[in-house]
Amino acid sequence: MAYERNIGDTILSVDQISLSFGGVKALSNISFAVREHEVFAIIGPNGAGKSSMLNCINGFYHPQEGTITFKGNTRRQVRPSEAARQGIARTFQNIALFNGMSTLDNIMTGRNTKMNKGIFWQALRFGPAEKEEMEHRAVVERVIDFLEIEAIRKTAVGTLPYGLQKRVELGRALAAEPDLLLLDEPMAGMNLEEKQDMCRFILDVNDEFGTTIVLIEHDMGVVMDISDRVVVLDYGKKLAEGTPDEVRTNQDVIDAYLGVSHDDEEA
């Protein structure tokens, strides 16, 4: 099904970011730009600085140098909660859900930044707070429908299999109705079928809601299939940037990441 995607202007631009922890240089002088409605992948070997990069984008780490511009707002330092309020949601490499809570409640927490009524009203669950909760619940139910997890709506998340937990985590990020979705290894540890499902959900999110997606992924097949553009990091430096095809044939990338091969082998 080939069709024109509506790729817009730059939504996120990263300019000359450098991040170090004491003497360890995690990122040095990284720049790239992500355009609206794009699926953008960050790849690289272990320790290349991929997760650090995501942590900088959503304000968890504060880079020593460089700026990040999101939706026209340039910032040096931002707290994760502010980033969330601006429309950045993420999932984690190691699932970070509330195990004792149900799927529904976990996804509901994704609405947290959008809830305006004070804790007093929420605790009473009365009047305006009830109305607000119903609105949020409606959004959450759409997410549940979208991710096809109706059957586990009321199941405690801790008892779910790994692949489903990943899906719930994606659901929580989606519940925030983000403009930019950061996915940290969404397919790690999944079997083939789960990976296929997850790929479909990522593409559907991108397509249905127009959400811009930045993802880190180790599975090269997945990355090459679903990404519009790819940036390759190695030892905190940018090695290459471009479409999957360009990156695939880039000799530096092949040497550093895909293993040394000088033939035109297809992965």
Partner: protein
């Protein structure tokens, strides 16, 4: 149906029934669906409006009288409405199995000459698009769920919403059009075409007339005194005749509300929320529920386990008698009432069975343990015997006259006889019109005076109940002349929770032998409790411990068989546990999960030979089809075990 309806005689089609219901009980709920976590209901009046809009929309896009409308998807209100819409236009709805792969669909689409298809979602649309070039008649695909569909720019693919919108506009300009269209239908017109899954050969299109379905549905409604206050859950495939009667025909006739589950995974949860009063499930579903209950009870606290065990003993002893209104001592009655309060009530509530007035099971024999379990809880589960060719009902059990191993006396207006070869023949108002474009098959199944051959072997017991033992053509003989009824053996094996499927061999052989599929969940749970690690089905199936477990089951079956003079000779001498589950995707089972013997015999020839030679191990390779249509192979060394043979005990067995 309460008061007599003067127009009753003329209300002989589903569109007319719909108009009548909208008039009589227009404000009552007709159908529900859980959407975004909330049950949405449509009243009969609303359903009529929706159906009229759909019919008008179909007409506007070129659906003609006599056309076939393919319907593919899970049980959704809109898909049921599509059936009535097609019927109102004088077309033939053809519901299809939603989990069929594209090739299987192509055969039905092409054979039925479907010109329109109304499908649930993108998945089904994709399947139809894949085979569309091989179905020249198919010209329009209408999808219900717009998700993922925005980039489909084919001019012949459109949303149901847009079609109904066009229909509404047409209706606004032509009031009364729907009623006039519906009035053109007659009882003898074809109401629906159902493709039988076919244990042998290609599926056949069974044409049922309105008279077939409506009269049969009315008889069923009268038999069980159903009315508009009943509740039904529609969760079985729409392509199956049972769903067409229980969730469609009887709903239109009695006016009761049908609830569609949120998704196929949530059926058990939705069941609990809806609490239906009238329920149908194949034995497999009841079996799964019992397995689930048993597994969950093993995880329960000691006190709960003790209570459950104590009160289930009481229930099994007195429950069925209480249910059948037979005499029960005061003490037992009191104990049972206490059990109802402490155990049965909460359990039924958890399962969604609290409001059951009656439940039917059919399609296969149900294990006596399972049957007794539910009846002892006070669930009025009954068996029926039916077929697509009969619009379901042939035999059904009466309240208070229930036996676990028969299917009851003939249903209302059904005549039955047994042919010389033991085959069951019936004649009823529900007898199908013909197979679509297959006169040969029609002639070999239905005689000129209306008798239909069921292909099942059976006999009447002393009380006039029919007892089905096997497919007539499957009943064979061992080399020593002993009768061999494979299905009978298989069912006995499958009654154990650890065994999910079995295939028995023995015709023209020296002894009976069997393939066994273990139940991954039940055996897996059993293995975990014993600290037995395993990596998957294949690994688990080859464990000696699992073989021991299954051997115990086979021994018990043999013990049972030894008590029956006619069948004692067909005890299972050797068995093996198959290294893969028999699967409909591999063509080994039909879509209704019946074993295709010929395919199994062909594919596992080596293993059958191994059963009848002295070897203990047989190396095999099997092809498996994955859900995406690719194929792969499994290699394994399958072990073969000898089972205990018991001496014939007919002398002692006489009670």
């Amino acid at each position: 149906m309460g008061e007599a309806n003067p127009a009753d005689g003329a209300v002989d089609t589903f569109p007319k029934l719909l108009i009548d219901n909208a008039r009589r009980i227009g404000a009552r709920p007709a159908i529900r669906e859980k959407d975004l976590g909330i049950w949405q209901a449509w009243t009969w009046q609303q359903v009529k409006d929706e159906v009229a809009a759909m019919a008008a929309g179909l007409k506007m896009y070129g659906f003609e009288r006599g056309d076939s409308l393919a319907i593919v998807g899970d049980n959704r209100p809109q898909l049921y409405w599509a059936m009535t819409a097609a019927q109102a236009l004088g077309g033939k709805p053809v519901p299809m199995y939603q989990d069929a792969v594209a090739e299987e669909m192509q055969y039905v689409l092409e054979h039925a000459e479907a010109s329109f298809a109304i499908v649930e979602d993108q998945e089904q649309t994709d399947k139809l698009l894949e085979v569309m070039d091989r179905c020249p008649k198919l010209k329009e695909i209408v999808y219900k769920d717009p998700r993922g569909m925005r980039h489909y720019d084919q001019p012949f693919v459109r949303s149901l919403d847009s079609l109904m919108e066009a229909g509404r506009k047409f209706l606004a300009e032509n009031p009364g059009w729907f009623e006039a269209e519906a009035a053109k239908g007659k009882g003898e017109d074809i109401a629906i075409m159902l493709y039988t899954s076919g244990t042998t050969g290609r599926p056949k299109g069974v044409m049922l007339s309105f008279d077939n379905v409506v009269i049969t549905a009315r008889n069923g409604v009268a038999w069980d005194k159903l009315d508009e206050n009943d509740e039904v859950m529609a969760y079985l495939p729409m392509a199956w005749v049972g769903d067409n009667i229980f969730s469609y025909g009887q709903s239109y006739v009695a006016g009761f509300c049908v609830s569609c589950p949120e998704s196929s995974d949530t059926v058990m949860l939705d069941l609990k929320e809806i609490g239906p009063t009238y329920f149908f499930a194949p034995p497999r579903v009841f079996e799964n529920i019992l397995t689930q209950v048993s597994i969950r009870m093993e995880d329960a606290s000691k006190l709960n386990q003790w209570l459950y065990k104590k009160f289930m003993d009481v229930a099994l002893r007195v429950g069925p008698n209480v249910l059948d209104g037979k005499q029960v001592s005061f003490l037992d009655r009191a104990l049972y009432a206490l059990g109802e309060f402490l155990v049965y009530g909460p359990l039924k509530n958890e399962l969604g069975f609290s409001r059951f007035r009656l439940a039917y099971t059919a399609g296969e024999a149900i294990g006596p343990d399972i049957f007794d379990f539910f009846r002892s809880l006070g669930v009025n589960i009954k068996q029926l015997y039916g077929s697509t060719e009969a619009s379901v009902f042939i035999c059904m059990q009466k309240n208070g006259d229930i036996k676990p191993d028969t299917v009851g006396p003939p249903a209302t207006d059904v005549e039955l006889k047994i042919a010389d070869n033991g085959e069951v023949l019936f004649r009823s108002p529900g007898v199908f019109v013909a197979y679509y474009k297959n006169d040969e098959a029609t002639k070999s199944t239905k005689t000129d005076d209306g008798w239909v051959m069921t292909g099942d072997a059976g006999f009447f017991d002393a009380d006039g109940h029919l007892k089905i033992i096997d497919r007539a053509k499957d009943v064979g003989k061992l080399n020593d002349g002993t009768m061999f009824a494979p299905k009978y053996l298989e069912n006995k094996l499958k009654f154990f929770p650890f065994i999910t499927e079995a295939v028995a061999f023995g015709h023209e052989r020296d002894y009976a032998a069997a393939f066994i599929n273990i139940d991954l969940e039940a055996v897996g749970n059993w293995a975990e409790r014993r600290g037995l690690a395993y990596s998957g089905y294949t690994d688990l199936s080859m464990r000696d411990e699992v073989y021991d477990l299954v051997a115990e089951c086979v021994d018990k079956v043999n013990k049972d068989l030894s008590e029956d003079a006619a069948l004692s000779g067909s005890q299972i001498k050797r068995f093996l546990i198959l290294h893969k589950l028999l699967d409909a995707d591999d063509g080994e089972l039909t879509r209704t999960r019946k074993v295709r013997r010929s395919t199994v015999a062909e594919r596992y020839g080596e293993l059958i030979n191994a059963l009848y030679s002295g070897v203990d191990v047989c190396p095999v390779e099997a092809t498996v089809t994955f859900e995406d249509g690719r194929t792969g192979t499994i290699k394994a060394d399958v072990k073969i075990r000898e089972a205990k043979i018991f001496p014939s005990q007919q002398a002692q067995a006489a009670e």
